[in-house]
Amino acid sequence: MIPGRPSLTESVLQSPSRLRVTAMRILLTITAVLVLALAAVVGRAEAQHELRGHVDALAIGGFAELEDAIAELAATGHPDAAPVLGMLRDGDLYVQPDGTVVRAERGGAGFLVSDPLTGEDLGEVGRGGVDRIRVNNNIRRAVRGALAGVTLMNPDPQIRYDAARTLSGAPSADMLEPLDAALAKEAVGWVREEMAHARAVIVLEPGSGADESTRIAAVERVAERANRDALVLLNAVAARDEGAVQAAAQDGIAAIERRLVIRDNAQHIWYGISLGSVLLLAAIGLAITFGVMGVINMAHGEMVMIGAYTTFVVQELIRNHAPGLFDASVLIAIPLAFLVAGAIGVAIERGIIRFLYGRPLETLLATWGLALILQQSVRSIFGPTNRQVGNPSWMSGAFDLWGLSITWGRLYIVIFALIVFAGLILLLRYSSFGLKVRAVTQNRRMAASMGIRTPWVDAMTFGLGSGIAGIAGVALSQIDNVSPNLGQGYIIDSFMVVVFGGVGNLWGTLVGAMTLGIVNKFLEPYAGAVLAKILVLVVVILFIQRRPRGLFALRGRAAEA
C-alpha cells in the first residue's frame, strides 16, 4: 500500500490521515500476532492433552503397568515427555483422588501441587490429599533407558553423553537409528566418541544385522576401551560369533587382559597412597607430640574427633545462615579446627601433662582417662549418634585417569596431607619457633640456659601437634563417621605409623604411612581386609623387633634427647 515502508516515526511526522492509517496497521499487526500466539497456545494445549492420557496412565496399576506406561510415554517422542519422566524418577509425581497425575512438592501444610506438563500452579493440598507414585529400581532403570532415547539430541552435551553411556549399558538394536541421527549432528568430540562407542556396542548385539567388516571394526573400537565392561562384551562376542569376528574378539580380549593387570597394580598403588595419606594425616600430629616431645598422648584420636566436630558445627552454621557458602565450608573449618583443637591441646599440656614429664606410664594413663572424658563430653553435647557432614560438590564423584577410577575426595585428601606435611617440615626447619622446638627437645637445659622459655615452647608444641590432629579431623570427616568414637579407630594406626617410621623423624612418618598404606592395599585382595590388617601388624612387630628405632632412626646426640 505504502511504497518504501516508512518507519513509525516517519509516519507519525506525516499527515494526520497517514497517522490514522499507521495506527490501524499497528493495531492489525498486534491483533494478528495475538491471534497467532493464541492459536499456538491452543495447539500446544491440545498436544499436551494427548500426552495427558499417557501421563495419567502412569498412576494406573503396579510396577509392571508403570513400566509399560513409561515406554508408551517415551515412544511419543514428544519434547515434554522427558521432563515428566525426570519428575517420575525423582519421585515428584503424585496422583490425585480423581486419577490425574500432578507434580507435588512438600510445602505449606501439605503439598504444593502443579501440572507436570504445563507447570501451572494448582494450589495446595493436605498431606493425605495426594498419593505418591512409587518408583523402585526397575522403574528407575526403565526411566533411564526411556530418557536416553529422548535426550540424545538434548542441548546439554553432558546429558547427551549420559544418554549415550546408558545406551551402551543396555544395548538394543531399536536405538541404532536415533543414534545414527544423533551422531550425524553431534559436534562435541567427547560426546561423539561416547556415541560411537555406544553404536559399536549395539552393532555387536546379535540380531543387529550388521555385516562382518562393520562388526570387526566395532570389536576393535570396543577393545580400545580396555575396561571390564569391554571384556565382558568381547567374551560374549567370542563365544557367539565365528570366523574373523571371533578372531578379532579373541585378540581384543588378550590385549585387554594384559592392560588390566597393569591397571590393577596401578589401582592398588593409588589406593595405597590414598590410605597412606589418611594414616599420615592422623599420625602427623602424633609425630610431634609423641615423636618430637616424647609424650605418649592417648587422647590424640580425640583431637582428631574434635576437628571433625568443628567441621560439623561450621557446616550447621553455614546451612542455617549462609547456604551459599556450603562448598567453602571445609576450607573455613580448617583454620577453626586447628585453633579449637590447638587451644584444647595447650590447655591439656598446661593442666595435666606438664606435671607428668618423664613419667611415661602416668602420662599414658592420664591421657587415656582424658580421652574417655572428651568422648563422653562430646556424646553429652552432640548426642551419641552420627552427625552428618556433607561433601562439598568439588569433593564428590570420581574421574577416569587412564582407566583408573579416582575419586575427587581422596585426591584432595592426598594433596592436603602432603601440603600439611610440607608446611610442618618448613615450620620446624626454617622458623624461629621451629628452631626453639628443636633446641628444647634436643637439650632442654642448654636451651633454657640460652634464654628460651621452655614451658612456653612445650605448650606451643603440644598445641601445634593437637591443632594438626584437628586439621586431620576435617579431612577425615569427609570419609568417615563423625561420631564420638571417631578417634579410637585411628589411635592405634597412628602410633604404629610413628613407631614404624622412626620416633622423632617426620620423614619417617611420611615413608612409614605410605609403606603401610600400600602394603595393606596389595595384601587386601589376596588375604581379605581382616587378615591384611593382622599381617601388617605382625610385620610391623617383627620389624620393630629387628630395628627398635624404626625405619629412620635418629643418630648421634639427637638420639639421646
Partner: protein, 432 residues
C-alpha cells in the same frame, strides 16, 4: 457393760484386721522396677542410647495410664559401657539388688550371650530387641527382633524375583551375626535358587572399617560380568557411613548394583547425605515412613519425649514397643510379676505392632513379624517397595544350617525345651 466391752473388742479386732489387710496393700503401692540394660558410653552408645530413651518414654506413658496391676513402674537404668563382661555384672546387679521384674536390654549378640547364663541362673526375664542370627532360644529371654528368615531371606527373594539378580556379593563385618547370616544365605542361594559358586562373592571386613576403596572396586569388577549383581550387606553400624560414601563416590548406582542392608536403618542414615544413595535397599520389620495411626502416634510421642523433631524412629525401637506392651499384657494376665508365671503367660500374647498388624509371642519365645523392603529416599527415610502379605513366624533354628535343621523350640508344657531334636526325640542338641 459386757456388751460394750465385747463391741469395743470387736471394733478393735476389726481395726487390727483392717490394719493387717492394709499392710500388703501398702506393699502393693511400691512401684514395679524395670531394668534397662543398654550401653550409654563406649562404641555401642551410638545405637543403644536411643533404646534407653524409648524405654523411659514407654514406662512414663504406661504410668500415666495408671501403671500395671495398679502399681506404678520405676525404670532402673544402668550403663554396661559397651563392655561385655560388665553386661553380666550389671544384669546380676539389676536382678539381685534392684529386684527388677524384667529387663529390657542388650544389642550385640555377644552381650546377650554374656547375660544369658545370669538370667537363667537367677530366673529373670530379658527382652532382646535387635535383629540377630537366630540359633538360640532361652526360657528366660524373649526375642522381639527378627531372625534371618524374617529379614535376610525375604530380602534375597525380593532381589531374585523383582530385580532379577543372578550374582551375589555377601559383604559383612567379621563377627558372629554376619558370619551366621551369610552361611544361611549361601546355603539358601545354592540350594533354593540354584546359584553357582562363581556367582557368590563373600567378603568380611573388620569392625569400623573405613577404607572401602579396594572392596568397592572389587564389587564393581565382580558386578561387570554381564549378569545382574546385588550386594547383601551385613556391614555393622559405624562402617556403613564410609562404605556408602565410597559407593556414591565411585558412582555405583542402585539401578546397576543395588545394595540391600540388614543393619542400616533411619538412625544410621542420619549421618549420611542420602542423595546419591536413592534406591539402595534395606529389609526391616518396621520403617518410620509407614503410615498408620499407631505409628504416627508413636512418632509424635517420641518427638515430644525427646524434645527434638529431627530425631528418627527405627526397627529396634518398635521391638521394644512391642516387647514392653507384651510384658504389660502378660503381667496383667498372670496378675503378678513373678517370673515363672509371667514367662508362662507370655506365650500367646498378641499386641498391635506399628505397621498395622499384630505381633504374637510364639512358643519359641520369638514374635511374628511382617517383612518390609524399603528403598532409601533423598530425605533419609525409606519407602516401602514390597512387603509380606501377612506376618512371618521365626525359624529360630535355621533349616539352612547343618546341625540346627532338626531342632525346634517350644517352651509350653510339657515339652519346655529350647532345642528339641525331632530326629532323636531328645531335648538338648546344639546351641543353648
Amino acid at each position: 457393760m459386757s456388751i460394750w466391752k465385747r463391741t469395743s473388742g470387736a471394733i478393735g479386732a476389726g481395726l487390727l484386721a483392717a490394719g493387717l489387710m492394709a499392710n500388703p496393700a501398702v506393699a502393693d503401692e511400691d512401684p514395679i522396677k524395670i531394668g534397662i540394660l543398654h550401653s550409654l558410653s563406649g562404641t555401642m552408645a551410638i545405637s543403644e542410647t536411643t533404646l534407653k530413651d524409648v524405654m523411659l518414654m514407654l514406662i512414663e506413658d504406661q504410668n500415666e495410664k495408671g501403671g500395671v496391676l495398679g502399681r506404678q513402674l520405676e525404670p532402673v537404668v544402668v550403663d554396661p559401657a559397651s563392655d561385655w563382661p560388665l553386661f553380666a555384672e550389671r544384669a546380676r546387679e539389676l536382678i539381685e539388688q534392684e529386684e527388677v521384674a524384667a529387663v529390657f536390654g542388650t544389642w550385640t549378640s555377644v552381650s546377650r550371650k554374656a547375660v544369658l547364663p545370669v538370667f537363667e541362673e537367677l530366673n529373670s526375664i530379658l527382652f532382646y530387641p535387635v535383629q540377630y542370627e537366630g540359633e538360640e532360644s532361652s526360657r528366660n529371654i524373649f526375642y522381639t527382633g527378627a531372625a534371618p528368615n524374617q529379614q535376610a531371606i525375604p530380602a534375597v527373594n525380593y532381589l531374585y524375583e523383582v530385580e532379577g539378580v543372578e550374582r551375589w556379593v555377601l559383604a559383612g563385618t567379621d563377627y558372629v551375626y554376619p558370619r551366621t547370616t551369610n552361611r544361611i544365605l549361601e546355603t539358601y542361594l545354592k540350594d533354593e535358587l540354584g546359584v553357582a559358586d562363581d556367582d557368590i562373592m563373600i567378603n568380611y571386613t573388620p569392625f569400623g572399617h573405613s577404607d572401602w576403596q579396594s572392596i568397592v572396586a572389587d564389587i564393581r569388577a565382580f558386578g561387570s560380568a554381564g549378569k545382574k549383581t546385588a550386594v547383601v550387606s551385613t556391614i555393622n553400624g559405624d562402617a556403613n557411613v564410609p562404605f556408602y560414601r565410597e559407593l556414591a563416590n565411585q558412582g555405583i548406582d542402585a539401578a546397576d548394583i543395588p545394595v540391600v542392608a540388614f543393619s542400616v536403618g533411619e538412625e544410621e542414615l542420619a549421618g549420611i547425605d542420602t542423595g546419591p544413595l536413592v534406591g539402595h535397599l534395606a529389609a526391616w520389620n518396621y520403617f518410620m515412613s509407614v503410615y498408620t495411626p499407631e505409628n504416627e502416634d508413636f512418632i509424635a510421642k517420641w518427638h515430644e519425649f525427646i524434645g527434638d523433631e529431627s530425631r528418627v524412629t527405627n526397627d529396634p525401637m518398635e521391638a521394644h514397643y512391642i516387647g514392653f506392651n507384651m510384658w504389660v499384657q502378660a503381667v496383667e494376665k498372670a496378675g503378678t510379676t513373678d517370673p515363672d508365671e509371667v514367662i508362662d503367660a507370655m506365650i500367646g500374647v498378641a499386641v498391635p505392632n506399628l505397621t498395622g498388624g499384630y505381633a504374637a509371642m510364639m512358643p519359641n519365645h520369638h514374635i511374628t513379624k511382617p517383612v518390609l523392603i524399603g528403598e532409601i529416599q533423598a530425605d533419609g527415610q525409606f519407602e516401602v517397595v514390597w512387603e509380606t502379605p501377612g506376618t512371618i513366624v521365626t525359624d529360630e533354628w535355621s533349616p539352612y544350617l547343618e546341625g540346627s535343621r532338626d531342632l525346634i523350640s517350644d517352651w509350653r508344657k510339657p515339652l519346655e525345651c529350647g532345642n528339641f531334636n525331632v530326629a532323636t526325640g531328645e531335648c538338648g542338641g546344639q546351641g543353648s
